[in-house]
């Protein structure tokens, strides 16, 4: 494969940019601020451990993508040439990373660095399903290792036996390359489910490809599914919006058993609160020199539930995550629109109204999830610190939740008003929306804290519900019913 063909596949500029941005955020910033590393340490670990993983994944993406296409086994010599070019890429990146690492003074021997870089660059090759979040999870697991107690042991091991690390790293690299580019693997890979690299999706996470992948995966999942589905027992659907929203609900969730869908939404929305509370806990607990015991942490949670300042301690962070995680509830709610309407015999207005009713239901479930999560967290904290139960605590914390429905409804209105801007369905759109939602939430919290809050909450809620319904109606009045909304199609996941 000539170099030019490989570069067309790889899109080197995109690869480098994405790699640098990701390393910067997930590597340097994360390690520095969440992991309490010094800047030099953060840079160094990024070059030697986190960076190779990120760049290795970026390099593996195009290789996986090409091997996954049905035309690949028919091209003579493709496998060997792809492997050769991939090796070239690996060597180039390894050299770059080594050079960057040597600019930072550190106590790691060169051999160990090489070994770590080699392993890091090739391990992502094994991620042949291209599960998107796999290396984030990996990073999450590794970072405590690098920033807390076990770090000393790790450094000592590297210094004591650098050649062991080198040989292990090279062995690992050899194994990964050999396995992925072997004839047997390549011979089966093109039959597997559709895989796409990040370079192809970025910068706007092209939704047609995502949809194609989603549809392909869904088919395989549905074909394998043996869980019972719901029954549709209604003989004749009348003309009321309530009946039609039930029909829409069946179309959207009928394929999943009752156990997984609605409780699933509640659990899914509760999960982030718990995670937000837990991450600082993990770092606080293992932090070098800053160790907080569980008791102290729970005390902070309770103090945070009382207080009003934003994010001054790990505990309080959990409670102010609200505006940012409302994005998830909004996405669940709007994903109702992913139902293929198969031309329900409904006027466009009635369709919009029925979808709105269903969105309200799902939004309510999401908010319920949050509320439950907060209650659980508080109850847990109270039990651990053995403070007497003070019901004002619950009231305080739950009062934070009262702005969530408003923010979610405004989010739905925002989503449906901006659909015609295609870039909104992209990663950039998410960021914008998160910023807007966050700002809105913060503002709403500030307003509702004051005595004025009690009076404007209900009118505010009604106004946002009206805005949401109007936005949905306007959208469906002029929209091509054949096309699914791009970003809800992406988020509808395996439910439809």
């Amino acid at each position: 494969m000539p170099l030019r063909a490989y570069l067309t596949l790889l899109r080197p500029v995109r690869t480098l940019l994405l790699g640098l941005i990701n390393s910067g955020c997930c590597g340097v910033l994360f390690l520095r601020y969440c992991g309490n590393c010094s800047l030099a340490e953060a840079l160094y670990f990024t070059c030697v451990i986190v960076g190779p993983l990120i760049f290795g994944d970026l390099l593996a993406g195009p290789a996986h993508e090409f091997m996954n296409r049905s035309v690949f086994p028919l091209i003579p010599g493709a496998r060997r040439q792809l492997r050769r070019q991939h090796l070239h890429g690996l060597l180039a990146l390894a050299a770059l990373l080594l050079a960057a690492a040597s600019a930072v003074p550190s106590e790691f021997p060169l051999a160990a660095q090489l070994g770590l870089i080699a392993a890091g660059l090739t391990l992502p090759l094994l991620n042949s399903r291209r599960v998107g979040w796999s290396y984030f999870v990996l990073l999450l697991l590794i970072s405590p290792l690098l920033t807390t107690g076990p770090r000393e042991t790790f450094v000592a091991a590297c210094q004591a036996a650098p050649w062991a690390f080198l040989s292990l790293g090279l062995l690992c690299a050899g194994f990964c390359i050999r396995h992925i580019f072997s004839a047997s693997f390549a011979g089966n890979y093109w039959k597997m489910s559709y895989v796409v690299s990040i370079q192809t999706l970025a910068p706007f996470y092209d939704t047609t490809m995502m949809q194609r992948r989603r549809e392909d995966n869904e088919r395989r999942a549905i074909a394998k599914r043996t869980r019972p589905e719901r029954e549709w027992r209604i003989a004749a659907v009348g003309t009321s919006v309530r009946e039609w929203s039930r029909a829409i609900r069946h179309a959207r969730f009928g394929g999943t058993s009752w156990l997984w869908s609605e409780p699933g939404i509640v659990a899914f929305c509760a999960f982030p609160v718990i995670v937000y509370g837990a991450i600082p806990l993990v770092f606080a607990y293992f932090g070098r020199g800053n160790a907080i015991s569980l008791q102290e942490y729970c005390g902070m949670l309770i103090a945070g539930a009382h207080g009003t300042e934003l994010a001054s301690s790990p505990g309080h962070f959990a409670f102010t995550s609200l505006p940012y995680t409302s994005i998830m509830v909004t996405m669940f709610a709007s994903s109702v629109a992913a139902v293929p309407t198969t031309r329900f015999p409904l006027s466009r207005r009635r369709l919009a109204d029925s979808l709105f009713v269903e969105m309200l239901r799902l939004g309510a479930l999401g908010c319920l999830g949050f509320a439950l999560a907060y209650v659980v967290v508080i109850v847990g904290a109270v039990l651990v610190t053995r403070t007497p139960i003070d019901y004002s605590l619950f009231a305080r914390a739950l009062s934070h939740i009262r702005i969530l429905p408003t923010v979610v409804l405004l989010g739905i209105a925002f989503v449906f008003s901006t659909v015609r801007y295609r870039w909104m369905a992209s990663f950039g759109g998410y960021l914008l929306w998160a910023a807007v939602g966050g700002a809105l939430g913060g503002l709403a919290m500030a307003i509702t804290e004051s005595i004025l809050g009690a009076y404007i909450w209900l009118p505010g809620l009604i106004l946002s519900a009206w805005l949401a319904r109007t936005a949905i109606r306007r959208y469906y009045a002029t929209h091509d019913l054949n096309r699914l909304m791009p970003w809800v199609a992406r988020f509808a996941g395996r439910c439809a």
Partner: protein
């Protein structure tokens, strides 16, 4: 300048027929970004007929059907379906409308039986007996999940979902391309039955002209987004012909300049012309003018099709 023998460009519908027509388009233009799918199309479909919607790929047939079904609001112009503007179609009209899409989206997780029951609950006029007969005729196993069906079977699902409620207007977009010949024949028989029993207006868009020819009695043809034909099928059959001229005395001219001659091949002694004219004396006149024997042969739809779709370029 077109001669009187050439068919005139299709014009907007007359007022009296427009009222009874199930689909009336007035100056419909549809743009997708820079691409113009339909450009200034006006027509009124006749009721109670089987209408063949013909055109090459990308001519705008699917777009036209989607606009008529109210799925797509046109960029400009107005469409009236079953007496209502297509943007305001509501349950009373939609329960009398059936659309079979070329690439329809169904609820993949359902079995065929479940999807039929689900849809049946929306339509009061759902005919269970027709559904049973159609399932048998199309040879579709109702217990299979839609996600597992082959493309041909998916087409059959689309046909079932669009037809079993006995619509007054049935729009079919390439419904038969993936079916085997025996099942195809059965489907065409069912369409005829719907027309006979209910006076359904059927619009069928298909590339398989051989099958379309068996049942249509009206032809609407599109080419590059423009309407190039809107006439009864037997009028077309009577207008198009292939004339073979054999020269009795002397050579024939290398080319014939008459405006109704659409295609020609001439080698001096014999000429084969493909013509379109409703003038019954034109053949005799031509033969007399060139002192030649003339034999005529009618053209079938496969042969007519390239001449039909070429009319747009000819006219401009």
């Amino acid at each position: 300048m077109p001669s009187p023998a050439l068919a005139p460009a299709p014009t907007a519908p007359a007022a009296d027929t427009a009222d009874a027509s199930p689909v009336v388009l007035r100056s419909i233009t549809q743009r997708f970004g820079k691409h113009t799918a339909l450009s200034d199309v006006s027509l009124a479909l006749p009721a109670g007929r089987i209408i063949g919607l013909l055109g090459r790929n990308g001519a705008g047939k699917t777009t036209l059907l989607h606009i008529a079904a109210g799925l797509l609001p046109p960029t400009s112009g107005a469409c009236t379906t079953l007496g209502t503007p297509s943007g305001k179609l509501d349950t009373p009209q939609l329960t009398r409308l059936g659309l079979v899409q070329q690439e329809g989206r169904y609820l993949e997780w359902m079995t065929v039986r479940q999807h039929l029951d689900f849809n049946a609950s929306f339509y009061p006029s759902w005919d269970r007996d027709l559904e049973k007969r159609l399932l048998e005729a199309l040879e579709l196993d109702p217990k299979r999940k839609i996600v597992q069906l082959s493309p041909g079977d998916r087409q059959k699902v689309g046909i079932l979902l669009g037809t079993c409620h006995r619509p007054a207007l049935l729009l079919l977009d390439e419904p038969i391309s993936s079916l085997d010949p025996i099942v195809r024949r059965r489907l065409l028989d069912f369409l005829l039955e719907l027309l006979r029993d209910d006076g359904t207006t059927v619009v069928i868009s298909s590339h398989i002209l051989n099958d379309v020819e068996k049942i249509v009695d009206w032809v609407v043809a599109l080419e590059a987004g423009e309407l190039v034909e809107n006439s009864p099928f037997d009028l077309l059959q009577e207008s198009y012909a292939e004339w073979t001229l054999t020269s009795a005395a002397g050579a024939l001219p290398p080319s014939f300049a008459e405006p109704f001659v659409l295609q020609q091949q001439s080698n001096g002694h014999q000429a084969v012309l493909r013509v379109r004219t409703t003038d019954t004396e034109a053949a005799a006149r031509l033969a007399a003018a060139h002192r030649a024997e003339l034999r005529t042969r009618p053209l079938n739809l496969d042969e007519m099709f390239p001449l039909l779709t070429d009319q747009r370029r000819r006219r401009s």
